[in-house]
Amino acid sequence: MSTAPRLTALDAVHRALGATMTDFAGWDMPLRYASERDEHNAVRTKAGLFDLSHMGEITVSGPEAVDFLNFALVGNIGSIGVGRARYTMIVAEDGGILDDLIVYRLGEPDAPEYMVVANASNAQNVLNELSNRAEEFDVEVRDDREAYALLAVQGPESPGILKSLTDADLDGLKYYAGLPGTVAGVAALIARTGYTGEDGFELFVSPGDAEKLWGALMEAGTPVGMVPAGLSCRDTLRLEAGMPLYGHELTAGLTPFDAGLGRVVKFEKTSHSDSFLGRAALAAAAERAETAPPRKLVGLIAEGRRVPRAGFPVVADGKVIGEVTSGAPSPTLGKPIAMAYVDAEHATPGTEGVGVDIRGTHEPYEVVALPFYKRQK
């Protein structure tokens, strides 16, 4: 079996920049270009440019696209307006999360078309699931992973950088919305989405246009402090913003209700039927969550300097009360932080006596509400 990693359309650019590359979900991706802390801080204060071409795009179109997506996903897809986007999930029959997704509604009312964006590590599975679930519907599920490169400009300077390169109405483009336009002469789906906690844009373009767009963005962004940014800082940025990551906060062993994201499940849908795959299990999970609260996802801030990592036990009074799902030194807070699932009785912010077992030593941690960081608007 060939295991050669896939290369993005920007591979030569990353190598020319001297990026440290890493294998990520079968793709050779830039981890960092120089210092990941500098890249993190640039996104918080100026801007960062990411190559996210490993994300998995799947286009769903056809007369029954809405009914199909309402059946296949947990959200109410019918209520997404044209040009808007929604965070949702796909679950298994038992309610376990298969992936978290962003669905963009692209088509006009008479020609329904949606783009489903899956995590790189789950894209093939999501594609398979959607294809299987589509059998009873008049829809086309199209694998568009090869059709798009994805560049993201994130940070407070990103609107200004993009405005210098496009005539698109960015001021009219709300958070979680997307519109087709032209950026630096390149046809793009311009979406105001991201995974950093900052204002920013994600630009879906043809792979053949990716280098040209990258070059134009760097030329426009460098004078205002934009830097290329890798996956390492993307992880610390999303962690500070309290955003879940599949494989860490979200797994097939958890339902959306167990993950504290029950709000994405819509039992009533705007289509001919309210039935959807996983409904019975999720209804039971919703009831369980009411009567016997599951472990809660909380934030932990270190009092010391040792860094908690995924899988480390959370402890109180010498007993294990939870588990770290993501942890890293936070450049913004200047302290190690973590997300962790902990027993409900220890989940209240300010709960005393909570620690993390770091290679045998119980280091004290403060329990806080998520997110750790929220941008000032």
Binding site: T20, S35, E36, R37, T236, R305, R309, P329, P336, R359
Partner: protein, 125 residues
């Protein structure tokens, strides 16, 4: 990156200075610092500790991982670099200078320490 000629190197990516009165300074190489990423926490051996060549004597924590710090030689620790404990990024910014980690009075050293050229070849391979 270039590895200073006057130093010797271990295969665990520590460098060792020439000895003065039997005491050598130890740090990690630029190659290792780059591989770690931003170092955010350093647990160094303490003065008076005895360290053994090839065995773990501390930890270096970076954004993404924690790595053991190995002793390139056997001996007694006579100094630990408090500047690095206070500002671990020195390991990245000046691995061969201000980012040194500890000084050790050498009791014994392994016979597989590398010259600068040998270490350069080792990390290239």
């Amino acid at each position: 990156m270039s590895n200073p000629q006057q130093l010797r190197y271990s295969k665990e990516h520590e460098w060792l200075s020439a000895t003065e009165d039997g005491v050598a300074t130890v740090g990690i190489t630029e190659h290792a610092a780059n591989a770690l990423g931003d170092v955010v926490f350093a647990q160094l051996p303490e003065v008076g500790d005895t360290v053994t060549a090839g065995e773990s004597c501390g930890e270096l924590e970076s954004t993404k991982s924690v790595s053991d710090l190995y002793a390139p030689v056997t001996g007694e620790i006579v100094a630990a670099n408090q500047d690095v404990v206070d500002d671990p990024s020195l390991v990245n910014s000046a691995p061969f200078e201000g980012g040194w980690l500890f000084k050790v009075r050498i009791d014994g050293e392994p016979d597989d320490l590398l010259s600068a050229d040998e270490y350069t070849a080792f990390t290239a391979g």
